[in-house]
Symmetry: C2
Amino acid sequence: MQKLIGIDLGGTTTKFAFLDMDGNILSQWRIPTDVSDEGSHIVPNISKSIVDRMAKEDFTVEDFAGIGMGTPPGSVDNDAGEVNEAFNLNWRTIQPVREQIQQELGLPFVIENDANSAALGEFWKGAGSEADNVVFVTLGTGVGGGVIADGHLIHGVNGGGGEIGHITVKPNGFLCTCGKRGCLERYASATGGVVNVALDMANQFHGNSQLKDQIDNGQSISSKTVFFLADHGDILANQVVNEVCKYLGLALSHVGNTLNPENIIIGGGVSNAGNTLLQLTTKYFQDNAFPAVRDSTKIKLAQLGNDAGVIGAASLALQFKNSMNV
Amino acid sequence: MQKLIGIDLGGTTTKFAFLDMDGNILSQWRIPTDVSDEGSHIVPNISKSIVDRMAKEDFTVEDFAGIGMGTPPGSVDNDAGEVNEAFNLNWRTIQPVREQIQQELGLPFVIENDANSAALGEFWKGAGSEADNVVFVTLGTGVGGGVIADGHLIHGVNGGGGEIGHITVKPNGFLCTCGKRGCLERYASATGGVVNVALDMANQFHGNSQLKDQIDNGQSISSKTVFFLADHGDILANQVVNEVCKYLGLALSHVGNTLNPENIIIGGGVSNAGNTLLQLTTKYFQDNAFPAVRDSTKIKLAQLGNDAGVIGAASLALQFKNSMNV
């Protein structure tokens, strides 16, 4: 029985896994991502790490059916296997990733952006499994999304499918890095969203709040601080969480009314807030969802955590293999 | 070469067409929809009309591959071929439409709601043809929608896919018949939307406006009146059109950011306003669409007009036939 290789390429760490054809992780490891010299070491380091690990585990290339990889936000050309302008990786020109890796390892290679890759992971083995229609939203440094409709990952005509983070939730709201205003990302990502909302609301808040005190004293706060304090009764922190969930629930209702998926799955660092995030988001989702959607689409927390990336990446390799066999 | 039968069942008129396998209309006709006696004559009348027409054109059942039908909003069970609670038709209990028609005519029969049917029509032969990802929004008595992703019509887990008319465009806005507030339908459908917005804005308008005068004098106005007066420089009418397009463009941006389809096609009676509607809606769409989406997803007017329904219905029959042959 052949095996799959899943890679989750991040700006600081690259995660790898060998998996069986059912998506079970057999072994996994990680290396630091060396982004120096315009990221020119990244792909050679990946190839070398796989070769070394195969040797260590007494595998040869013939033991594997293919490699899938998720990459940080940038411009991924799935067909060409290329990545352009992934600033987290210092890649400013087109990188022929597939060509380089296939040359080195001689295995089929498929690439996808990391939100889509995590979506596929949850679709295959996590909170979305056994459903044909699943939407994944990841609340991390940014807000990413992946849409699986009728079992197909939707890229759209220009790779903009699943850009849930840039749904306008507040016309004329905060300016986003994408150039427009009021994007969900400015309300529900970690630092640029939750912390951003907290700083803004603290400005206008008068009352007793540890969150307010920390901000006024110049202490740095994180999304985790905000949810922790909310869970412990801090008034301002709860107002911030309410604001975040209001916009997240609204944006997810738009997705729900468009697709009526079986599950909308929330992952990424902010989702570690758990039920505090889930319950309020579900309330605002239901307030804004069409009855047939409200009664059927479920909002869930991701189940695979950090493994979603490598598992989803491996599923890409499997899909590719199956498409070749048809 | 076999032929297809497309039916577009409406609350006042039922339209029929015979089409070739390429979706070209060979002949078409219509009958009034008799909704008396709890709509019990509707299906027998449809069967009879088809039998009569076949005789008139010297066709037999063997000349046809199947029948597709679009029905007014209600609860359509595509798998069972049943319709429940279609109030426009006076259907208050489950109607086994497929069973009745197949019994009478002996041809395969497929049913779909009318917005999905029109979406399939535009996808096959109209403004969306040759694209795999198309969204259709119809602005009529209500606002309906159909989503085609990767070539598949998306129903969602509970038939709520494509409920674009119930995307919340204004939190705490006008109450909708669906029970929630601020739905697109209350801003962009004909009477319940455009006229509704006009009556509301006229209340607060002070200035010279023929639209305002007509409303104040108790003359009835229509969506057509509003767009006609806007085209002729009426200030209030232009403010109303701006409001309608602002919310329509916003809702379509949500759909665009989720799916990045090649085309979003606007049909239905309100779309007869043409470029007056299209240009402003496109502006607001672009204001709220993620750059990769803004640069690629095109907003278009429907091309098939009233024929979209019968053509899309026929495409259902064709799809069904092809799925049986695989």
